[in-house]
């Protein structure tokens, strides 16, 4: 009886342990400087708009052997409101943890019977941005119980684990030193609520997966291959960690 209680308590406190309390969460936009902030809020000049336009067009475009568009099954793009805030989520058919890109790629091959979109292709990034932008202004609310629990725990473990030649864990910068400067730029909290977003450095819209891969490069660790489950697990942890932050798509960062 005593053991059960202790185990139960440990589990609860573990799941609720937030290194940054909810009321202190800040979107990466907060740390991006006035120029980036004004570029994001400029409805016209925001450079994500180009990809957003093309994603919106391709939503209604028929393709593949099914001769259907996304719209044929899912309806207008606005009906995707509230979808992106639940990802990454467990795919019932395969039992795997899918991020939104996986869901779109899967649906495209399985249901639309169209040619596969490679990771980070213009088409995939634009479509993900279009679907995400339908949820603009909604708070993130990832599900971490049930089948997603082991993925969440792995994501949390990876976030806390030092790795690479720099021997740094995500938490060392983004939980312990956010707001302080790394060279000339302030460190953000590493929140994922803006993605997919236009990165001025890369001069295009980028997925969260690409951003996370770049973090592996940053600490000089071995980057997992595209589509690896570790990236999805970390993404799930990030979504839980930023719970309540608002979807900003189409967003801009340095």
């Amino acid at each position: 009886m005593g053991l059960w209680t202790i185990a139960g308590l440990a589990l609860t406190s573990h799941a609720q342990q937030r290194l940054i309390p909810l009321e202190k969460l800040q979107s990466g936009l907060h740390y991006s400087g006035a120029e980036v902030q004004s570029l994001q809020t400029d409805e016209f000049a925001n450079p994500s708009n180009i990809a957003l336009d093309s994603g919106t067009k391709s939503w209604a475009k028929t393709d593949g052997k099914s001769n259907k568009s996304c719209q044929s099954c899912h309806g207008e793009l606005v009906k995707m409101k509230g979808v992106s805030i639940r990802y990454p989520a467990i795919d019932k058919a395969t039992g795997k943890l899918f991020n939104l890109e996986d869901r779109i790629r899967n649906c495209r091959v399985k249901n639309q019977k169209a040619a596969e979109w490679t990771f980070e292709s213009d088409e995939l990034v634009a479509m993900t941005l279009a679907v995400t932008s339908s949820s603009r202004g909604l708070p993130l609310q990832a599900q971490i119980d049930g089948a997603a629990k082991s993925h969440f725990e792995n994501g949390q473990r990876l976030f806390m684990t030092r790795q690479g030649q720099m021997n740094l864990a995500c938490t060392n910068c983004h939980d312990q030193h956010y707001g302080q400067k790394l060279y000339t730029d302030p460190l953000s909290q590493g929140q994922a609520n803006g993605y997919p977003l236009y990165r001025i450095d890369w001069q295009r819209v980028a997925s969260l997966e690409r951003r996370l891969r770049f973090c592996y490069t940053g600490v000089k660790a071995e980057t997992p291959p595209w589509g690896h489950s570790d990236i999805r697990d970390i993404s799930l942890y990030l979504m839980w960690r930023g719970q309540g932050l608002l979807v900003e798509a189409p967003a801009v960062r340095k």
Partner: protein, 116 residues
Amino acid sequence: MSSARLQIPPRILQGDVFKVRLLVNHPMDSGFLRDIDGVIIQRNVIRHLVCTLNGREVFRVEPTTGVAANPLFEFYLRATESGDMLFRWVDDKAYIGELRHTLVVEAANASKPASN
């Protein structure tokens, strides 16, 4: 391939100085970067972009490799006449991009729509 977005004020009166904003979707490859295999990405920037109003040139720019991808051009025009605005740009691959817009200039003494 190359597309663009245009923004001008919704209502322009004769004599007004108004802002024209054009966002062009273009990679603006500088020719200095290499791809993941180490091969140089060929230079491909917009050589020149011209805006004409009723066939008369009103704005011209010749961007170089120092301009980032998806450039935003902003300039001002004085409204004298209505007419066809044509934006035309050519890049190093000889691709020609075009955007047309019908500019409507209202008479300076045009009052706002009558409200009862």
